[in-house]
Each structure stands twice: as C-alpha cells, then as structure tokens.
C-alpha cells in the first residue's frame, strides 16, 4: 500500500516554463487536494476534487490548473511558471467524512511533497 505518491520530489523551472506535478493514491479516496507551503508558513489550498471529473478552486488557485480523470490521479499543472510559485507542494487524499467508521474516515493522508524552485 503506497498511500499518496507525488512526483517529482525536486524540480527547478525557468520563468515561463510549464510543468505538471503528479499525484496518485491507491486507497480509493474520492477526495483529493493540492496544497502549497511557503517558507515558514502553514499550507494553503490550491485546488481540490471530490471525485473523478469534479474539481474546484481553493484559496490560491491562480497560475494553476488541475484535472481528475480517474479516482487515483490528481495532477497539478503550472502554466507559465513565476518566481512566486516557488514553494513546496503537497498532495493529500481522504475518504469523504462520514462514509466509513469514524476513526478511518477522518484521516487525511499527505504525500511526501514536491519542492519546486522557479528561477
């Protein structure tokens, strides 16, 4: 059971380049999230998805796009990278609250993070 897997772990981008951060989970979770963490700060929500084909914006969506064609995968696309997108990106997933026993249904699983630098 791999949990939540993110790739790449590290990446350096030039200003204006594009890239996709990959996120895959093998727990059959409907809910998935992308957060970013700037130095010395808490995480902020970029986008989230409540199932295949359903996505919505979080607090800081500008400059990003997402898609959710399968339950397992939730890629995050950066178009025209800017220095302000230098950050650590975390993908997370969970079961919808209340669909499973109380203890399991409320656990949120985070990936290992992707360190992105835009120069």
């Amino acid at each position: 059971n791999a949990g939540v897997t993110q790739t790449p772990k590290f990446r350096i981008l030039k200003i204006g380049q594009s890239m996709t951060l990959q996120c895959t989970q093998d727990m059959n979770h409907n809910y998935m999230y992308w957060y970013r963490q700037d130095p010395g700060m808490g995480l902020k929500l970029i986008y989230y998805s409540v199932g295949a084909g359903i996505t919505d914006k979080g607090e800081v969506p500008n400059g990003y796009n997402v898609s959710r064609s399968t339950t397992e995968d939730f890629p995050l696309r950066l178009e025209l990278a800017a220095p302000s997108q230098t950050s650590v990106y975390f993908c997370a997933s969970r079961h919808p609250p209340g669909t499973v026993s109380l203890g399991i249904g409320n656990t949120i699983y985070f990936g290992e993070g992707s360190w992105l630098t835009v120069v």
Binding site: G42, L43, F90, G98, L102, N106
Partner: protein
Amino acid sequence: ELKVEQNPLFLSMQEGKNYTIYCNYSTTSDRLYWYRQDPGKSLESLFVLLSNGAVKQEGRLMASLDTKARLSTLHITAAVHDLSATYFCAVVGGLAGGTSYGKLTFGQGTILTVHP
C-alpha cells in the same frame, strides 16, 4: 472566511518543562487536526479532534478541543529533544455533515525547540 491562529509562533523550551500551544479559529467547526512537521519532511498526523470536549493523548502530547471557545490546545509534558519540530493545527470549517469537503485551513505553525 475561516482564519486559524496559533501562538506562540516560536517556542524554546528546556527539557523536562511543560508548555501549551494554542490554536484559535474564527468560525464554527467541530473538526480539528494537529500535525508535526520535521524540516524538509511531510506532515505527520498527531491528533484528530472531532467533537466539543475531545481530548486525546499520545506520549508527552495531549490535545483538546473546545468548540464553544473555538480553541484547541496542544500540551507538552516533560519536553524532550525529540519533540523539536514545527507543529500545525488545521481546521475544517463548518460542522460535520456540511459541505466543507474536508478542506483544511492551517495555522501558521509553532516552531518548537527543546534544549537541555
């Protein structure tokens, strides 16, 4: 808009001492999470608090939730060096059964350093 504030932001403790980290949030919620993060690492789940009055303990850490006061505390007992890390609280806005979709709003984090 849900806002989550932690204090203190920096905490330097002596080994063996006790201290409390506070997490205040601005709107109704009955679901609060505590995480630990080591430098360069992902988040490690410590506690999930799901109702008013919930109290959970693991080793030297104990967390509680007061939904009426919109306050959670993380109490550290007899600190040891291994507890040095950054601690985050995170809140799911609204009440269970609502439409928050499990989205977390994080506090700024408390950087804890335990020294001899």
